[in-house]
């Protein structure tokens, strides 16, 4: 109930400040349109937008959930952060509410990106069940990234260092992954970092759901398992940071 209460408060703020939804949407949207137009012609088989969409979705999660922690800095300048912290609310509820808030933002963006892709004749080959699994994969990715972002925001002193760090991490994560080309075609020297990057596996699973009508469960389960472990780790880290913030 407390999570819902905190979540309700964030959602009220989000919809009174819709510009925050648009701001983080612009970049992935431009990339989606840019890549589809530039590389679309070179691809002999299939629709390049279908190929690029999973990577763009992950990029949009990285940019929106990745910076989600920044809200803490403005909350701290007022007294509401303090008021909530000294209330008997469970620390895990605070983190969970933060994840749900990030999820609202990220899913609105994902819906817009997918909607535009549908207009560009992208079809989700795995059907409704595939879409549901995509939602689960995206939610786990959002939870992992936003909890991590929350933890980072409690560690770094101000917005500038926070933004600098997040930008330094997210762009390489996008490029050193299978977002722009299939894992098999990645040059040998790059394979190891690309393989280590957890988002590669998320993108590969999402791509499989978009492009293929039959689901490769082995690949899917291993991705979900990976995300699950990452989520638990980042959630624990965020709760720990919140508990130990004011030593």
């Amino acid at each position: 109930m407390q999570t819902i209460n905190l979540f309700w408060r964030s959602v009220r703020w989000r919809f009174q400040n819709p510009v925050t939804i648009i701001m983080t949407l612009v970049q992935p949207l431009i990339w989606l349109l840019l890549f589809s137009t530039i590389f679309g012609g070179n691809k002999a088989e299939g629709n390049y937008t279908s190929f690029i969409l999973p990577g763009i979705l992950v990029m949009s999660v990285l940019s929106s959930s990745g910076v989600s922690g920044i809200a803490n800095y403005s909350l701290k300048t007022g007294g509401s952060y303090y008021r909530i912290k000294i209330s008997p609310v469970k620390r895990s509820s605070i983190i969970l509410a933060h994840i749900l808030d990030a999820a609202v933002l990220s899913f609105i963006q994902a819906a817009i990106l997918i909607g535009i892709s549908l207009l560009m004749s992208v079809r989700i080959a795995s059907g409704i069940s595939g879409v549901l699994i995509m939602i689960i994969l995206l939610f786990l990715t959002i939870a992992f990234v936003s909890a991590l972002s929350y933890a980072i925001s409690l560690t770094l002193p101000d917005e500038n260092s926070f933004i600098a760090l997040v930008n330094t991490i997210t762009l390489p994560l996008f490029f050193v992954s299978s977002a722009l080309m299939p894992s098999e075609q990645i040059p040998h020297g790059f394979r190891i970092p690309v393989f280590i990057n957890p988002f590669t596996h998320v993108i590969d699973s999402l791509r499989m759901l978009v492009l293929k009508s039959s689901i490769d469960w082995t690949q899917l389960i291993s991705t979900v398992r990976l995300l699950f472990v990452l989520c638990i780790a980042s959630f624990a880290l965020a709760v720990h940071s919140l508990n130990n913030e004011n030593q």
């Binding site: 109930m1 209460n5 009220r12 300048t77 303090y82 008021r83 209330s87 008997p88 609310v89």
Partner: protein, 314 residues
Amino acid sequence: MNAISASNLCKVYQNGRKALTNLSIEVQEGEIFSLLGPNGAGKSTLINILTTFLQPTSGKILIMGKDLYAEQKSIRSLISCVAQNVSIDNHLSLRENMLFQGRLYKLDKPTANKRMDALITAFDLREYEKNKVTAYSGGIKRRLDIAMSMMSYPKILFLDEPTVGMDIESRQAMWDVVKKIKSDFGTTILLTTHYLEEADMLSDTVCIMQDGHELVQDTPQNLRQHTGQKVIRIDLDSSENCQDIVKLISDLQFVKGIRQEQNTLYANTQNPMQDFRILNQMLMDKQTRYFSIGVLTPSLDDVFLSLTQNKGGR
């Protein structure tokens, strides 16, 4: 039972700054307790520790008889705090702000609504209900902030400088609110202030703090008596070099402290009625240019300064 009992509290920040050193206070249930001290005395650090926001480096704290470390969660439901920064959410309405706070403390809907209405009436907020929160004046925002903090009917309410930066009228309205919380809700109130007048008028007990340590804790009446010794006031001619005279006087054995306001000196001495003659004689002998000397009953400012200043400080 004591509402708050803290003993030998120390706080050293990670950057090495000492905020509290061996501080001990006792707050009785149902009283208004004021922490008085100059900026940097450690008042806000103490509030942050007592409200579970900050962890002390060492020391023991009991809140309503419960150990602050062992029973943090149950203590959190007994207290609330109005911080220096206004904490209301501008994107929520007055009622939404209050209901949000109620849900933080797990109040059910009927209880929350009942309390909200009682608090809106008690704090004269009815006429602002329809307005946007962003349009409220500073004083009203603060009043709403306090009303929100009262939603959980806390046993102890902390107020961190509740009237700082307010005009006289808003301050008086705030004092009425504080008194009302005590009389109508029986809440123990711990407030910080650097207005002596405020501490004197509102409090049952005043604790004067300096450099992270309590100097004295007593009722305002006793405090005035306790330190209520008279002071010697000397008005010097503007052509006189005040610094030299200050040095001269503060070097005297019986002078415990001296304070200078432009050309007027206030000296704390052991026996002002006697010492004033000696001082007078000395100033005459030295052919000091002064036009009045006398013995005064100290104002609360003098009490405060006599406690917080070292000999010769000004």
